[in-house]
């Protein structure tokens, strides 16, 4: 077991390094000179030379990469010259708010997807099953912003039930103080996540139901409710844990479109706005962070999976 964890950890570190390298290469691909962008058009050649010297911009590629890694290890994700703030400070306020949006959606979609997935599997090929599959198919095939737009149209424009813009508070707790504004973004993201989860839940539940121990439990005369709760739920939960583990990074990183539609102040919107004003430092800082979070999330999912299922031993 420990050997497995160590190996997985090693792989994760390699992948994180790969992410930083790709991000750094992208940074390098940018046209123009960083010195000129920051010092302005009137900068003298000496000033540019000094700037390049200070920021190691005239060193070979891998030396620069080494400085970049060093900078990352010290927690410095870059500096936004346009906002005159470090990327960390921008993200410090964004990430907790992302947690509210992503966390709530994840919880709600699990609460909906697990029971409906099991119900669909138990009543396979019935009207309930077809209805559920139809709904999740439809949701699965729509772009995220389309779901958001439809919700806005019906709940905000036609019937003025909820506001179409998300609350703009500076803290996560502040976001929770305006539940009305949170409803549409959370609902959109929940529907999107549910679409992805429900198909998986359903097929996982169907596979579990085909197992012999379910048949044994029923043959013993166990009430159906207990069969479902004690045997089906627990064994399908392994699949759910994998799904949740893979989705936790998405909580912080997969919300860009929803944030853009509802003007939700999170890391995704930050990235999008940085892109519009060509603030590459911010874009790349966020990309590295997102990559690292994803790798860590996958690592947690794999380890959790190995702990839960005693048959999984690498």
């Amino acid at each position: 077991m420990t050997g497995f964890i160590i190996r997985r950890l090693g792989q994760a570190i390699v992948v994180v390094l790969g992410v930083t390298l790709i991000t750094f290469i992208l940074l390098h691909l940018l046209p123009g000179s960083l010195a000129r962008d920051i010092l302005g058009n009137r900068a003298t050649p000496q000033a540019i030379e000094q700037f390049n010297q200070q920021n190691h911009l005239n060193q070979p590629f891998f030396v620069q990469y080494w400085y970049f890694l060093d900078q990352l290890l010290h927690g410095n994700l870059g500096y936004s010259y346009q906002f005159n703030r470090s990327v960390d400070s921008l993200l410090k306020t964004d990430l907790p708010r992302d947690l509210v949006l992503g966390g709530l959606s994840l919880i709600f979609s699990l609460v909906i997807a697990i029971p409906t997935g099991i119900a669909q599997a138990v009543k396979r090929n019935s009207a309930v099953d077809y209805a559920g599959t139809g709904v999740s198919f439809l949701l699965y095939s729509m772009p995220q912003y389309a779901i958001a737009l439809l919700l806005i149209q019906f709940l905000s424009i036609s019937f003025h039930v909820f506001p179409a813009e998300a609350p703009q508070s500076t803290s996560a707790i502040g976001m929770l103080e305006h539940p009305a504004g949170l409803v549409l973004p959370v609902l959109s993201l929940t529907l999107v996540t549910y679409a992805a989860f429900s198909r998986y839940m359903r097929s996982s539940a169907i596979d579990t139901l085909a197992q012999d121990y379910i048949r044994t439990a029923r043959a013993k005369g166990l009430p159906e409710r207990l069969v479902l709760m004690r045997h089906l739920l627990r064994n399908s939960l392994v699949a759910v844990v994998t799904l949740v583990g893979l989705s936790i990074p998405l909580v912080l990183t997969g919300t860009l479109i929803i944030e853009q539609v509802f003007n939700y102040p999170g890391a995704g919107l930050e990235y999008f706005q940085a892109a519009l004003r060509n603030d590459y430092e911010v874009m790349l800082g966020i990309t590295v962070l997102v990559g690292v979070i994803t790798v860590v999330g996958n690592l947690m999912a794999d380890i959790g999976y190995a702990i839960l299922d005693p048959r999984i031993r690498y």
């Binding site: 792989q11 992410v19 806005i152 479109i257 990309t287 996958n298």
Partner: protein, 307 residues
């Protein structure tokens, strides 16, 4: 022992026919797949829709000619009716004609990305899975790195640096899409390389390349075909998202995604025809491909085939 037994024929002809009746030939595996596919109503619906959308996008503009290049500021934001079955948008372009032209880029990009990404991914995955060991480790780490970086982020970044064009879009979308087929085919290859027929070829001295191309890849055809379909669906969806965010083709090119983003500003004014037709086109196309992919998945599942 050189005599062949010649006593059989007449006696065999006198045997009564078997009790359950003669067993009909079940047909080749492909026939079985096609038959199971055809039994799935949704799949047929999906296939029909895909064909309709292709006809609509490519033959449509030949029959129904509209000007998608010059804005017509007199006929701005008109509702459906008169010369414009689906109305006009904020630059005076006819919506129906715009849908047709938009479909062209979506379908072209979707199918191109779907096929190329799957082909690239399957070669990569088959090599990684077959050779295993350190090569597999390195190749799969690269895939993990690719999967860790969010697609939308990468795209927005690339779009800032390079001028968007159809070819570039196909290239970038393929670049992010080949990862999933690579993983899938690697998994299949890991399972297949322990089969006896592979071992037989190895014993006979067959080269690795021959084994991969003649034995392993053909046996993953089921997974590959399903993957291609889903890749096409995802590519169309991702393209719509990119166009919506403004990072697709040049601004005035008619595309479904950009129609949606242009139209949403007018949602509050009630100009529904600028938003919903494009949305319905996207959903129909993606759902159709998903139906086909799902049905193919079931069709290749041996347990569901009726022999």
């Amino acid at each position: 022992m050189t005599d062949i037994d010649t006593t059989a024929p007449s006696e065999v002809e006198l045997l009564p026919p078997p009790e359950g009746g003669e067993v009909a030939s079940s047909g080749s595996p492909w026939v079985l797949v096609a038959r199971t596919f055809a039994q799935n109503k949704l799949a047929l619906v999906g296939l029909a829709f895909v064909l309709l959308v292709i006809l609509f996008s490519f033959i449509g503009p030949i029959i129904y000619k509209t000007d998608q290049i010059n804005p017509n500021l007199i006929a701005v934001n008109l509702g459906p009716g008169g010369g414009h079955p689906l109305g006009t948008d904020s630059s005076g372009f006819d919506i129906l004609g715009r849908l047709m032209k938009g479909g062209q880029s979506s379908i072209e990009v979707g199918i191109a990305v779907g096929i190329v990404s799957t082909v690239a991914g399957l070669i990569y995955g088959a090599i990684a899975g077959y050779f295993g060991g350190a090569l597999d480790g390195v190749l799969m780490r690269l895939v993990d790195v690719g999967l860790a970086i969010p697609i939308v982020f990468l795209f927005i970044f690339m779009a800032q640096i390079y001028k968007p064009s159809l070819g570039l879009l196909i290239f970038l979308l393929t670049l992010v899409s080949w990862l999933i087929p690579a993983r899938l085919v690697r998994g299949e290859t890991l399972a297949l390389r322990t089969r006896e027929y592979v071992q037989a070829v190895q014993v006979m001295g067959g080269r690795s390349w021959r084994i991969i191309t003649r034995h392993i890849i053909p046996n993953t055809i089921g997974v590959i075909m399903v993957t291609v379909t889903f890749q096409i669906a995802n590519a169309i969806l991702t393209l719509a998202v990119l166009q919506y965010l403004g990072f697709g083709l040049p601004p005035t090119t008619p595309t479904w995604g950009s129609m949606l983003s242009d139209g949403t500003t007018y949602l509050q004014d009630g100009y529904w025809w600028e938003v919903y037709p494009a949305l319905i086109m996207i959903v129909i196309t993606v759902v159709a491909f998903n139906f086909i992919g799902d049905a193919l998945q079931d069709a290749f599942d041996v347990r569901l085939q009726e022999r």
